[in-house]
């Protein structure tokens, strides 16, 4: 039985005129504890797919199953980090995280809730900004609050849409390490959208590459864990995988380029 399963799911935006927006007949199975990275060109439907998994987009056909049961909406077994950070602007960074913790219902005691929030604020390097409102935080800081909120909710499944997109390289590396450790330790099932091949290779057990509306390829990443940016380079399997991904990822672009010049 899979943790997360999509059976022949199609979703098209009702507001959109063109049939080319959305996703078309996608099936996919993700076992418990697997870290899945989703790669693909902009506008191919990655966020759409993630919103289907989150239960926000109700598919016109096909079924979504979690632990073998059909699911029709959002639930606390999934925590989501959106591409837009979408914090509540009327709550401070800390209050936003506490809101998530309260919703998740894991801790009843208020002091415990605050402690957990402080823990994740510290982990994401936000202790100094804990009492600021989102309006006065930078994009990267808001993104980190959203990540902290999702992690603190302690869901089995993490759905993350370019969660490190607005971060500087150093913070990004720190949070990659944090996420990778946390998911290893707690056996979380993750679907993680990214534009970075290196990031996908660092984090993923499997990489899925999307072409418009479809899943094009699924590639297992068999690099040894724990992975680290430096040790990864030393792994003999790394260059081959990277080249493979690059050629898959830039498939169309590479085809066009090869016609007029050899690069």
């Amino acid at each position: 039985m899979y943790k997360l399963e999509m059976q022949d799911i199609s979703y098209h935006y009702p507001s959109s005129q063109s049939r080319s927006a959305g996703i078309d007949h996608i099936s996919l199975q993700i076992p418990a504890g697997e870290f899945c990275c989703l790669l693909g060109p902009s506008g191919c439907g990655k966020s759409t797919l993630l919103n289907v998994l989150a239960g926000l987009n109700h598919p016109q056909s096909g079924r979504l199953l979690i632990d073998g049961l059909v699911v029709n909406g959002p639930g606390l077994n999934r925590a989501v980090v959106f591409q837009h950070y979408s914090l509540f602007p009327w709550l401070t960074a800390r209050q936003n995280i506490v809101f998530g913790i309260r919703q998740s219902g894991q801790l009843k005691d208020r002091r415990e809730q605050q402690r957990l929030a402080s823990h994740y604020l510290e982990k994401t390097g936000l202790s100094h900004a804990a009492d600021q409102y989102p309006g006065s935080l930078s994009g990267g800081m808001q993104q980190r609050v959203a990540i902290a909120r999702a992690l603190a909710m302690n869901a089995d499944i993490l759905l993350m849409d370019e969660p490190f997109g607005a971060l500087d390289p150093r913070t990004r590396a720190e949070l990659q390490l944090l996420l990778s450790r946390l998911c290893q330790a707690q056996q979380k099932t993750v679907v993680f959208v990214t534009h970075h091949i290196n990031e996908a290779l660092l984090l993923a057990d499997r990489v899925m590459i999307m072409s418009p509306q479809q899943l094009a390829t699924i590639l297992p990443v068999t690099l040894a864990r724990p992975r680290h940016p430096e040790t990864l380079l030393a792994d003999p399997a790394y260059p081959t995988l990277r080249r493979q991904l690059l050629s898959l990822f830039y498939h169309q672009v590479a085809d066009e380029l090869s016609e007029d010049a050899s690069l």
Partner: protein
């Protein structure tokens, strides 16, 4: 600023010396209240460094004019007498302020609660919005002042009438603002709440309400003035206490000293109320200024 300061203090001293030195040509009440008001203004200025000299000089001109007998004794009474009213009539005035504020609080509170409670679902549920909003858009632009006399005449008691008028002044802006903002709430905020499995009451009161609060406060800021306008209007027509009643009663007796005192009191109450509201707004929607 230094120049302004010396000007104000100069005016203050001048005003005091005028009171003591220029012989009065008609009978006056005790100048105590007037002098203490002058001192209060001077003190307020010293503390805040605000531009109070305009008020002070206005008072001085008024004082000098009436002292030199240049003004009509009944229509523009001397300032000593006007401010002395605040001492002699303080019971009635305080009573008036309290009864007016009570009505205002009742009407505004009722309007806020129903405006929010009805505006929330109307804005949130598309079908309800399509039905209700056109009707609301048709009813809401009628200024409450227009039907105030009618309501006062029709309602069983003055209390009910004035609460109703205040209610109308505050309800429509609150309701419309609420419905509009709840209908146009950022979809991403709703999604963010949905994935955290926020229940329907939670969605209404923990998400949509705080999201709409700045709009409610902003509309209240405007509508409370209209409400005060309507209330005093209603009080002129048929009250037995209140700020408007105070003015109306003495203008019937042509006692313009007390009428002017009543008007000044009204101005002070309105100013105080609005600045209080602004403070409340700053505290409640602190997050928005960032």
């Amino acid at each position: 600023m230094k120049y302004g300061y010396s000007l104000v203090t100069g005016l203050y001293l001048l005003a005091i010396s005028v009171v003591w030195l220029v012989p009065a040509s008609r009978s006056l009440d005790s100048p105590l209240a007037y002098l203490s008001l002058l001192s209060l203004i001077e003190l307020a200025f010293l503390i805040s460094y605000a531009r109070h000299h305009q008020k002070s000089s206005l008072l001085l001109i008024w004082d000098i004019l009436s002292r030199l007998n240049l003004t009509h004794p009944v229509l523009l009474p001397p300032p000593e007498n006007v401010f002395h009213v605040f001492i002699t009539q303080r019971r009635l005035m305080i009573q008036g302020v309290i009864s007016s504020l009570k009505l205002l609080a009742a009407g505004t509170g009722l309007a806020l609660i129903t405006g929010v409670a009805l505006g929330l679902p109307v804005g949130w549920i598309p079908r309800l919005r399509q039905v209700v909003l056109p009707i609301a858009n048709c009813l809401s632009p009628i200024p409450p002042l227009v039907y105030t006399p009618y309501v006062v005449a029709v309602m069983p008691s003055f209390k009910a009438a004035s609460i109703f008028v205040i209610f109308c002044a505050v309800f429509w802006p609150t309701f419309q603002n609420m419905a509009y903002r709840a209908g146009n709430i950022d979809r991403r905020i709703i999604q963010s709440a949905q994935v955290m499995a926020v229940s329907t009451p939670g969605m209404l009161f923990k998400v949509i309400l705080p999201y709409c609060l700045p709009g409610i406060m902003a509309s209240l800021n405007g509508s409370i003035r209209v409400a005060l306008l309507c209330l005093t209007g209603a009080e002129l027509l048929g009250a037995s206490s209140g700020l408007g009643y105070f003015v109306k009663k003495y203008s019937d007796y042509a006692d313009y000293t007390k009428v002017i005192a009543g008007i000044i009191l009204m101005g002070a109450v309105v100013t105080l109320l609005i600045s209080l509201l602004r403070r409340l707004q700053q505290v409640l929607v602190r997050w928005q200024d960032n």
